[in-house]
Structures are given as C-alpha cells and as structure tokens.
C-alpha cells in the first residue's frame, strides 16, 4: 500500500510571529547571560540572547528557537495547547506550599547551660517556673499545631536547651503522637540540643519515641569552644563524647549536626569541614550567623560582612567538592537546596529560602510563654523588645485569629518575592526566597532594600557561583550535585550512570 511521506518543512511551524512567556535574565559575566523562566528552567547563552529573543529577531528553524520554545520561554501559534504543561510545572515547583504549615517549633524552655556569643535568647538560670513551658501551654500549643491542614508535619523541640525541661518533652511527645494518629498525620519529631545534659535515660527515651537529634558542632575544639563557652570550657570534648553516645543509643543516622559561622570560623573553612568528616557526618550546612539575639548585641565579636562570608563559603564549597571526589560523601545543605530548585522540576520548602516566605506559612514557633511567632528569628526579636512578628498567644487566640491578625497579614504582604522591588525582575527569583523578618531586623522595613540587602547579596552570589559549576558541564561535579539532590552518594549515582 503506497502511503505518501511528506518532507520536514511541511511540519515546521508556519508564520513568523512568536510571543514571550514570563522569564527574567541576568548577565553572568562579560560573555554569558542567563535566562530563567517562571518554573526555574534556564538557558545560558552569549550576552545578547535575551535582546534577540525580546526583539523578535530569533529565526524560526534555528537551534536557539527550538531550545527556547521547548523550555517554554516563547510560544508560537502551534504551541498554545502546551500552556497546560507550563501550568503543571508551575504547580510542581510550588508544591511545597501545599498543606500550609509543616514545621512547628516548640521552645520548651529558655534555660541553657551554654552562653554562646551568637545566641540568641537563652538564660542561664535554674528558675524552672519562669522559663519552662507549662503543661497547659504545651497542650494548647499541640492543639493549635494539629489544626494545620498539612498531612506531614515536623515537631521540633528546642530551647534554650530543651533537655533541661525533659518533663515538658515527656508531656508533649505522647500527646502530639496521639493527636497525630487520630488526625491521620505523619509526625516527625526532632530535638535540637547541645547534648551536654543528655543522660542515657533521656537518649533511650528519644530512641524509643523515634525522635531525631540535631546538635551543634562549630568545628574543631579551638573554634567550637571559643564559639560556645560553658563553665569548664569543655563544650567540644563534651559534644564529641555525647554525639558518640547518642549515635550508639538513639541510632547512628538519627544524629545530625549544625554549625554556625562566626568571625573566628571565617578563616577556617577547611578545618571546620574536616572536623565534620572526622566525625563521620555526611552533610554540613555552611550557615551565616543570624542578625538576631545576642548576635546583634555582640556584633563586634561575632559579626562580619557578607563578602567575608561568601569568601568562606566558596572556599568551603571547593573543599567539599574535593572531598566528594575523593570518595567521601559530604553534602553542603545550602547548595543542595538551591541545586534542587535549579536542576529539578521541584521546589523545596526550606523556610529560610522560599517564596512565599516560610514565616507562618511553612513554620510556626510556639514560645514557652504561649506566644506564637512566625519564625525562630521573630521570637529572638521579641526577646530584644520588638514584637512585630508575634502572631498571637495560644491562650487567647484561635488559629483563625492568628492567621487573619494584623501581624500575619502585614508579614505576608512582603512574603512573595514575585512582587518585591528588585526581586520581581530578578533572574534568580524562582530559586530564591523572601525574608521579611530579616529585612525588618536588618533594614527596618519588611519589604527591604535589595541593593543593600545582605540576604540578596548572599543568594545572588551563591546562585551565580553554583551556575559557574553548572555551566562548566563537568560530569563529575554534576554527578556530585545529583547525589546531594537524591540524598544518595556519588557511588550510587555512578552505579546508575554510564561507566
């Protein structure tokens, strides 16, 4: 049977006009610029690419036309049915909003045995009655938490040093579990502790209740002890001993560590990272200090400019990549979050880097005294006398009142970087976030001022830095990045990939 075959030209798109779909662009360096669309798909091309595209100078049939059409930077008369595809990708990218508040932080006590320079808000006191969460407030907080529509929720027990109020923990945990079970929610529980006061009995309790441990490790002894003073100046030794004990009792993979970067840390990225390797951790979060709590008061001792941090970050990341190449899996958490946004169709609900901002929407903080805050940072501001982000109190306010109150409404008016000056036309908008509370704390205004924002400089530079790796198309580095994204190791990716 003779069927007729028609030549390629018959099937190429007719007409000459095309329309633009939402995208933003940025010059990366003298030669290259980057175009990013609303769903985070990007194209790196020579300077002038955006101009050619916008001025309708792109010729049909060119490779660039095909690429930008496939990535949905432009649309022509033949591709309108595919707008549905873009909508699906948009929903996927913002899927993290689904379910509303997922992370619920309980400040079970303000008391602490440490007196860290960068903290924040804790008190060195034995006065249980003033600074511990009462059972009544704990119960009301659990009630409020369980009203979130989210199916998967995390309860983070923190302080102060939460293990100093272990009776409160033992009161909250079974209550939260019962309610979660009744409401068919999946509940994860984490305790953020320096472990200094952890008895074996406490650790057995954490094991039996399937509670994860997050502790602080700022680097080798010289840095850790300087950052985290306590009577006896033995925080490091204590921490290492206790990490070992917690791993043995609670479970090896149930113990994680976080570091905070102080001025002292800045000149020691290698030593800090090597300490994490030495302690057999497989992720490290190169976090800058928050401009809150005692950190603001003691700025001379702990504070630094964003350029110094970025220098620390770049050196650290380079070292981390070398470590991975040598066969030890170590993920840098901030890079991992950004790379997930850049290299995958998914978004991430990391509360410090999302739009709409995580504050209130993805995280709520229940203070020991019943006050409810949008974030941990809002609570620290309050401890310094600034109650702007106090959303309510579990004793008097319902969920509805909290989420329709002036404080929350004011906060969310600055929560979307899509509508913030300086962000609305930024190429990295889809990858970045907004942080009205940080803006308020550092610039005195929830909307903030991007040209002088350290949040903005940090993220712009880190994202650009990551794109330099991506643009190089180095197979090994990309495999390391995907190992981080998949929460697996380089060997696992190598096993899946051509070799």
């Amino acid at each position: 049977m003779a069927r007729v075959f028609l030549p390629a030209a018959v099937y190429s798109t007719p007409g000459t006009e095309y329309r633009l779909l939402p995208f933003r662009f940025l010059r990366l360096n003298e030669q290259k610029e980057i175009l990013v669309n609303d769903v985070g798909d990007y194209f790196i091309g020579p300077v002038g690419t955006a101009e050619t595209l916008v001025h309708r100078k792109l010729s049909r049939g060119s490779d660039l036309y095909s690429i930008l059409k496939a990535k949905q930077f432009l649309i022509d008369d033949s591709s309108s049915p595919l707008l549905d595809l873009l909508a699906t990708k948009y929903r996927t990218k913002y899927g993290f909003i689904d379910g509303f508040t997922k992370l619920h932080i309980f400040v079970v006590t303000l008391r602490c045995d440490h007196s860290c320079h960068y903290c924040q808000v804790s008190r060195q006191t034995a006065d249980k009655s003033t600074y511990d969460m009462s059972f009544e407030i704990a119960e009301r907080s659990v009630d409020l938490m369980m009203q979130t529509p989210a199916k998967n929720i995390t309860l983070e027990l923190q302080g102060g040093e939460p293990l100093l109020a272990f009776d409160v923990i033992r009161h909250i945990v079974p209550l939260a579990k019962r309610k979660a079970q009744f409401l068919e929610k999946n509940l994860d529980i984490v305790v953020t502790t320096n472990l200094a006061n952890a008895t074996d009995e406490m650790l057995f309790y954490l094991r039996d209740e399937n509670i994860k441990v997050s502790t602080s490790l700022d680097g080798p002894a010289v840095i850790h002890n300087a950052n985290r003073p306590r009577p006896g100046n033995d925080s490091y030794e204590l921490t290492i001993r206790n990490i070992e004990r917690a791993r043995r009792i609670v479970g090896y993979d149930r113990v994680a560590a976080l570091m905070t970067t102080t001025q002292l840390s800045l000149s020691h990225p290698i030593e800090i990272i090597d300490e994490y390797v030495k302690q057999d951790f497989h992720s490290i979060f190169l976090r800058p200090i928050s401009p809150y709590g005692f950190a603001v008061k003691t700025k001379k001792k702990t504070g630094y400019g964003i350029d110094a941090f970025l220098d620390f970050y770049r050196k650290g990341l380079a070292h981390i990549l070398e470590i991975n190449k040598k066969g030890y899996d170590l993920a840098e958490v901030y890079a991992k979050i950004l790379l997930t946004k850049i290299l995958t169709p998914y978004g991430t609900g990391f509360v410090d880097l999302q739009s709409p901002a995580g504050a209130g929407i993805n995280v709520l903080v229940y203070n020991y005294d019943g006050d409810v805050y949008a974030t941990d940072e809002s609570r620290m501001l309050a401890e310094m006398g600034d109650h702007t982000f106090r959303l309510g109190n579990v004793r008097k306010d319902s969920r509805r009142e909290i989420f329709t109150g002036d404080a929350f409404v004011n906060l969310v008016s600055a929560s979307c970087n899509q509508s913030l000056t300086g962000c609305s036309d930024c190429a990295f908008q889809t990858y970045c976030g907004s942080d009205p509370i940080h803006n308020h704390a550092t610039q005195g205004d929830i909307f903030g001022h991007r040209p002088t924002s350290d949040f903005c400089s940090r993220n712009m530079e880190v994202i650009k830095h990551l794109f330099q790796f991506i643009a190089q198309q180095d197979k090994e580095i990309l495999r390391i990045f995907f190992a981080w994204i998949h929460n697996s190791g380089l060997k696992d990716v190598n096993r899946m990939a051509p070799s």
Binding site: F5, V10, S66, A70, S78, L85, R479, F482, A497
Partner: protein, 390 residues
C-alpha cells in the same frame, strides 16, 4: 521463527477460526477448542469430528468439509501443540497468535493508525478491523490456559479501538490479574482527559503504556510521525496519564532525525515527564517503512555514541531508568553496556557472520532477522573479557 504461513481454504470455510493447535488427537469433549494438525487427511473422517478446525499440508479433497479446513499449508512444522492460531479463509493466512512457551506474546489490536511514522516497523492499513480483531482477541484470551508473565498490546494504534480497548483490557484484567500488561501506543488519544480517565478506571493491576517521543521540537516529532499536531497531543497525553496515575514508559527510536536533539530531548523528558518509569532508547529496525525512508533515517550507530552517552548521562543521573534496545555490544560504547537489554523478541533475533567467535555473544541482543541487509559497518567479534574503551 515463523509466525505466519498460508494454505488453501476449503470450499465451505468462510469465516476466520481461532483455536489451539494439536498434533495429537484430542479427546472428543475438548475438541471444540482445538484445530487438529496433520500431514495427511485421516482415512476415517470421524477422526475429524468436533474439532474447531483442521490444518493439513495435504492437497484438497472434497469430503472433509464438515470441519473448517485449510489444505496445502506451506509449512506447519513451526507449530507446537497448544500454540493458538487464526485460520483466515479470506486470504489463506494461518497466523500464530500465541505461543505458551514464549515471553514475547502480543495481542494485536488493530492495523489502523492515526500516525504514519517514517520508520514504522508494522505499516498500518486503513481498514476497520477493530471489531473483528476485538472478537478474535477475546477468544484468544479465553483459550489461554496458563497466565503468561507478560503480554503486549500492540498494533497499529490500539486507542483507535475507542471503547473496545477498555473491553479488551478488562478481559485481560479479569482473566490474568497477575500478568504484566504493556501497551504500545502513540499516546495521542490520551490528550482527551475523559478517555484517559476511563482507561485509568479499568484498573488493571499491572499495566504500563509505552509511548514514543522523538524530539523536544514539535516540528521534528510531527515530521517523524508524519502527523501535524501529534507532538502536542502526545505531550498532553503524558500530562493526563500522570494526572490519572497511569504508568508510562517513553520510547525513542534513534536515527538521523532524532539523534541531533537527543540530549535536549533527554532534558525535556526529565523536566516535563519526571514521572516516566522507564525511558527506552531504541535502535532502528530495517523493516516496514524504514527501508524506503532510509535516506533520511540512516546513521551508523557507531557514529552516534557521543549523543547517546550524553542522553543516558542526563537521564540516569537524574534518577530515571534507562535502557538501550536493539544495539549490538560491539558498536555500543563500553560505558553504556550496562543499559543494553536483550530486547529483540526470540522469534526475530539472529547473528551475523562477523559475530562468529565473539566472546560476548551471550550478552548481546544480536540483530533483527531483517537487519542482515543493513547494519553498522563496525560489527566485529569481541574477546570474552573485552574492557577497552572505544
């Protein structure tokens, strides 16, 4: 392996018969399911009574007409007892529909297709056979005794069965709920959400669609399948299938038109169809329409290893399952061997003269029987422990 032969239909044999074949006489009570095979015509005609049909290599004689009979069969040796065949008096074909010993059985849904791919291995015919083939297939399903481990619904384009397709899948679901069912389709019909919803509602417990996508550029895909708008429909089809939770595999045939944008296609698949359970990158089959379009299609597989490796790198590192089908190991870059599957159906594969003495022949899929005319210029025997880079 032969699957079709022909013979002369008896004078009073007019409508097609599907049955199980047997070389040995069958007890009378079971005969109504069987087609008896024989080299000669039994002298005692009673021995034919009650069979669904009779197939013989013997010349026609007048008086066996009580049973639907095909005489002068060119060949019957390829048939084994319990194979299921169709005897078609209209054209004299004797087609093997099912072989219990094979894991490559297909349910042939229709010869019609709404695409007309340049390299179609099974060129469509524009004749409405959908109801006749549905009835034949339902009968086939009734005749299969032991649940097969897997079955493939193919065509033509099975979705052109419309509602009949759901009947076919439901029949398979009811009789063989543990059989893995794969259906090859161009996916265009699934752009209609109501059709997709109804497919999902059939609720086969182990069902996946294999859908081809040839480019991230709609014009290129439409050219390959020779149908304007096909890309949009297939892409929207993927969306609907994901929405209704129907599992999909994406199939890409590698040839001169699909190779230039293969990496871009891999990225497109990941960005848009991350939910695909499997991506199959397939070598060209030199049969059907392919030979007459070979000028546009041919590229020696040895010459596209860079593009192939790059696409596999993109897909596999992002967590998608990738397989390479229809490629001989001697032309496949060593780094890609672990993705190569021996995918050629047992009745279609063979090896060349050049393969004599090859040390990895057991791991190699070999060739389609029709590839002997056109294949890579780089076919050569390999040592048993070959591990040098190419």
């Amino acid at each position: 392996m032969k699957l079709t032969t022909s013979g002369l239909a008896g004078k009073s044999f007019h409508s097609a018969v599907v049955g199980k074949v047997s070389w040995q006489p069958v007890p009378r009570k079971d005969r109504n399911k069987f087609i008896l095979l024989s080299k000669d015509i039994p002298a005692d005609r009673e021995q034919l009574r009650g069979y669904r049909g009779f197939l013989t290599t013997a010349k026609p004689t007048a008086d066996v007409e009580a049973v639907p009979t095909m005489f002068s069969a060119q060949e019957l040796d390829h048939l084994r007892t319990n194979d299921i065949v169709a005897m078609e008096p209209a054209n004299g074909f004797i087609r093997t529909l099912y072989r219990p010993d094979s894991s490559h059985n297909v349910v042939f849904a229709t010869q019609r297709c709404n695409s007309n791919c340049l390299m179609c291995s099974q060129p469509p015919r524009d004749r409405d056979d959908t109801e006749a083939l549905l009835q034949r297939n339902l009968e086939l399903i009734r005749l299969i005794d032991t649940p097969p481990s897997r079955l493939v619904i193919t065509g033509g384009e099975p979705t052109l069965l419309g509602d009949r397709l759901f009947k076919l899948i439901a029949a398979l679901r009811d009789k063989f709920p543990t059989t893995y069912l794969h259906m090859l389709t161009n996916g265009r019909m699934f752009a209609w959400s109501s059709y997709t919803a109804r497919l999902a509602k059939v609720g086969h417990p182990d069902f996946m669609l294999g859908i081809p996508l040839y480019s991230d550029d709609p014009g290129v895909h439409d050219y390959v399948v020779q149908a304007r708008g096909a890309f949009d429909q297939t892409v929207l089809g993927f969306q609907q299938l994901a929405r209704y939770g129907v599992r999909v595999e994406i199939r890409v045939v590698l040839h001169a038109i699909t190779i230039p944008r293969l990496s871009a296609l891999a990225d497109y698949i990941y960005r848009n169809f991350t939910f695909a359970e499997h991506v199959a990158l397939m070598g060209l089959e030199n049969i059907g329409y392919a030979p007459r379009n070979m000028d546009q299609l041919w590229i020696d597989p040895a010459d596209y290893q860079d593009q192939l490796e790059s696409a596999v790198e993109i897909l596999s590192t992002r967590g998608l399952n990738v397989s390479i089908y229809n490629h001989q190991l001697c032309v496949l870059r060593k780094s890609l061997w672990k993705f190569a599957r021996k995918s050629i159906s047992d009745w279609k594969n063979m090896y060349l003269e050049e393969c004599r003495g090859c040390g990895v022949r057991d791991q190699c899929g070999g060739f389609f029987q029709w590839a002997t005319k056109l294949h890579s210029a780089h076919i050569h025997a390999l040592p048993a422990h070959f591990d040098g880079p190419q």
